[in-house]
Every structure is written in structure tokens, then in C-alpha cells.
């Protein structure tokens, strides 16, 4: 197996995997677009190895080094995107946690006020477990 075939197999596998995860609603479409772009890139590299070779020659590096560089650049880009998404998600989680806590406070206050009204009116109080 040569590098081109490996890229073709890898690209096809990435395509199939992405489609499978989107189909089963485990992966959001907006992320699927990015992964399918990567899979397409892999397939293109497999189909047209001359592209990487000429790129490597222009940059004065060997072919394997250029493949490694492109792979690392792709990994870096995706890891960075994940960090940004995680930051957004974290901020949302924090705000939701704060809002939940404040709503719980308001419910507790309302329950106490209702309990006070019930006892003032001589009604039997219901007690939450």
C-alpha cells in the first residue's frame, strides 16, 4: 500500500464515518461540513499526489514531511475550533447554572410565601419532600 492509496482509503472512511454520525444525529451538520471538507482534501491528495509533491518541492521539504505538516495543520485547526466551541459551551453552561440557581431561589421564596398564606388562612399546609 502506498501513501496515495492510504489517503484514498482514509478519505473514504472519513466520508462514511461522517455520514453515519450525521445520519444517527450524533454529529451536528455544521461540524459535519468541516469533517467532510477534510475527507475531500484527503481524497484529492490521494487522487492527485502531484499536488503535494509540487507543494513540497516549492517549500523545499521532503514529501513525507509535507504530508505530516498538512496532517498536523489539520489537527491543529480542528483542535483549536473545538477549544473555541468548548469556551462558548462553557459560557452557556455557566449562565444556565446561574439562572437555574436564581430560579430555585425564587421558587423557594414563593413556596415560603404560599406556606405563610396557607397557615394564615388556617388551611392545611402541603409539604414538599
Amino acid at each position: 500500500m502506498n501513501a496515495e492509496l492510504l489517503m484514498l482509503v482514509g478519505g473514504s472512511a472519513a466520508f462514511v464515518l461522517t455520514l453515519y454520525w450525521v445520519r444517527s444525529r450524533e454529529l451536528h451538520e455544521k461540524y459535519a461540513v468541516v469533517w467532510m471538507t477534510l475527507a475531500s482534501l484527503l481524497l484529492l491528495c490521494g487522487c492527485f499526489p502531484q499536488a503535494i509533491m509540487s507543494f513540497a518541492e516549492t517549500a523545499h521539504v521532503s514529501y513525507p514531511s509535507m504530508v505530516l505538516f498538512i496532517a498536523l495543520a489539520a489537527i491543529y485547526s480542528f483542535s483549536f475550533t473545538v477549544s473555541v466551541s468548548l469556551t462558548h459551551q462553557h459560557q452557556r453552561n455557566i449562565r444556565l447554572t446561574q439562572e437555574t440557581a436564581m430560579l430555585e431561589y425564587r421558587i423557594r421564596q414563593l413556596e415560603m410565601a404560599l406556606a405563610g398564606q396557607s397557615s394564615a388562612a388556617g388551611k392545611p399546609q402541603t409539604r414538599r419532600k
Binding site: I94, T97, Q98, T100, A101, M102, E104, Y105
Partner: protein
């Protein structure tokens, strides 16, 4: 005039009763808010019990999970923004380090000098007065004081102090945006950079009466690096909109 004392508490069941008792001497118009930051001990239950006996109105908010000091304090500012009617929001540690008698001095300094944020500084009092933290921490505090003073042009001496009084412009802004971990130096610099008036007033502090510090031994290097980076990066940002 209503003022809110925000007390972030994480695993402070031992120190909280004494802290709340020390705040009972404050005059009418003050309200207390304990933000139980997902404690694993009985801090929440203790706070609820204290709410039943407190002379001043005592509110208790329970964060369902531990979110860190910055989030706990910001929840207090959000609470103030939601309920409205508060003038000053005072941050006060639950661990017994702070002396409640200085709250009025912080408020007076805010009113007298029209400050948006007044910090209680351990380093404006005579050296023999109160507890000034360990040698290593004092070095860190000096470094942050130097960094903030250099980058903002405002002289500060105790940027890590958690005893601070925020005016409406400051706490309304903090309700929208507040640093999560190690927030004191960052929020102080944020105020200075965005045109809010900051100041300090001398206070004495005590050693903590319970709980554990949010900065552990091995976390000091990370703390120094993270806070320094945050301050320097914040300096590079454009001036932000503050609350009116």
C-alpha cells in the same frame, strides 16, 4: 439606600456562622447573600438555618455544581441586577478573613471619592496590623500590583483582596462579564482600563477560620501565569462599554 453583601461560600460550614454573626452589626439597609458554590459539606444547610435567624435579610442561592469563585461572585451581581434597588454590592469572604467593620469604611470611600470600585487593602495599614498572607503570596501580590499599576496608570497595592465594594456601574458591568477563576486582579484591571474609578482603603484581615484556599500550592505557578496573561491580553483589547 439598599446595599448587598455577597458572600461566596464553598465548603465553609465551619466558618460561615461566625462570618454571618460578624455581619449582624451592619445597619439597616444592608442585605446579605450567601452564594453556596456547590459545596460538598453542609454549607447550604447551615446558610439556610442562618437565614432563619439573621437580623438582616439573608438570601441563599445554591449553585447546583461547583463553578469557582468568579462565577459565585458574579451570581451575586446578577442577583443584585435582577432584584434591582441596590446601590453598592460588597464582596465579603465566608472564611472569616474579612472584618465586617471595614464595610462601612469601603462604602464611605466610594461615596466620598465617587469610586466605582473600592478595594480593602492590607498594605495601607501599619505592618504589624492584621494578617498579610504568606511571604510567597505577598510577592505575587506585589507583582500584580506593579503590573496593574504599570498598565493602567492607577496605583494599587492589594489587587488580590476579596474585600471590595462595587458601585452600580461596576457591579452592573460585572453581572454581564466577570472573570471566572482568580477574578480579583483581573476585574480590578478591567475597571481601571475601562474608565471606572478605582481606589483603595486600608483594612486589617485575619487568617482564614476554615475551608481551603482556591489557590493550592501547585496552582500558584498557573495562577501567576494565567492572571498575568489575562491582564496583558485585556490591555490589548479595545475599550469596552460599561453599564451607565
Amino acid at each position: 439606600m439598599k446595599n448587598l453583601v455577597i458572600i461566596p461560600a464553598y465548603n465553609e460550614e465551619a466558618a460561615l456562622p461566625r462570618t454571618i454573626a460578624s455581619l449582624q452589626g451592619l445597619p439597616q439597609g444592608f442585605e446579605l447573600l450567601v452564594v453556596n458554590d456547590g459545596s460538598r459539606d453542609k454549607t447550604g444547610e447551615v446558610a439556610q438555618q442562618l437565614a432563619g435567624t439573621s437580623r438582616l435579610p439573608l438570601h441563599v442561592i445554591h449553585l447546583p455544581v461547583n463553578c469557582g469563585i468568579g462565577v459565585a461572585v458574579q451570581t451575586g451581581y446578577l442577583f443584585a441586577a435582577t432584584r434591582r434597588g441596590y446601590t453598592f454590592a460588597i464582596q465579603f469572604d465566608a472564611d472569616g478573613q474579612h472584618d465586617a467593620s471595614y464595610i462601612l469604611a469601603l462604602l464611605a470611600a466610594c461615596e466620598k471619592h465617587q469610586l466605582d470600585l473600592c478595594v480593602g487593602s492590607r498594605f495601607l495599614t501599619p505592618k504589624s496590623a492584621g494578617f498579610r498572607s504568606t511571604f510567597a503570596r505577598r510577592l505575587g501580590i506585589r507583582f500584580f500590583a506593579w503590573l496593574i499599576s504599570l498598565l493602567s496608570g492607577d496605583r494599587v497595592t492589594d489587587p488580590t483582596s476579596g474585600l471590595r465594594c462595587a458601585g452600580p456601574r461596576a457591579w452592573a458591568s460585572f453581572a454581564c462579564h466577570y472573570p471566572e477563576d482568580y477574578p480579583e486582579p483581573e476585574s480590578l484591571f478591567w475597571c481601571a482600563r475601562n474608565g471606572l474609578r478605582i481606589g483603595e482603603t486600608p483594612v486589617c484581615m485575619h487568617e482564614r477560620q476554615g475551608g481551603i484556599s482556591s489557590i493550592h500550592r501547585w496552582g500558584i505557578a498557573y495562577y501567576m501565569l494565567k492572571v498575568s496573561l489575562s491582564i496583558v491580553l485585556d490591555r490589548l483589547r479595545a475599550r469596552e462599554q460599561t453599564a451607565p
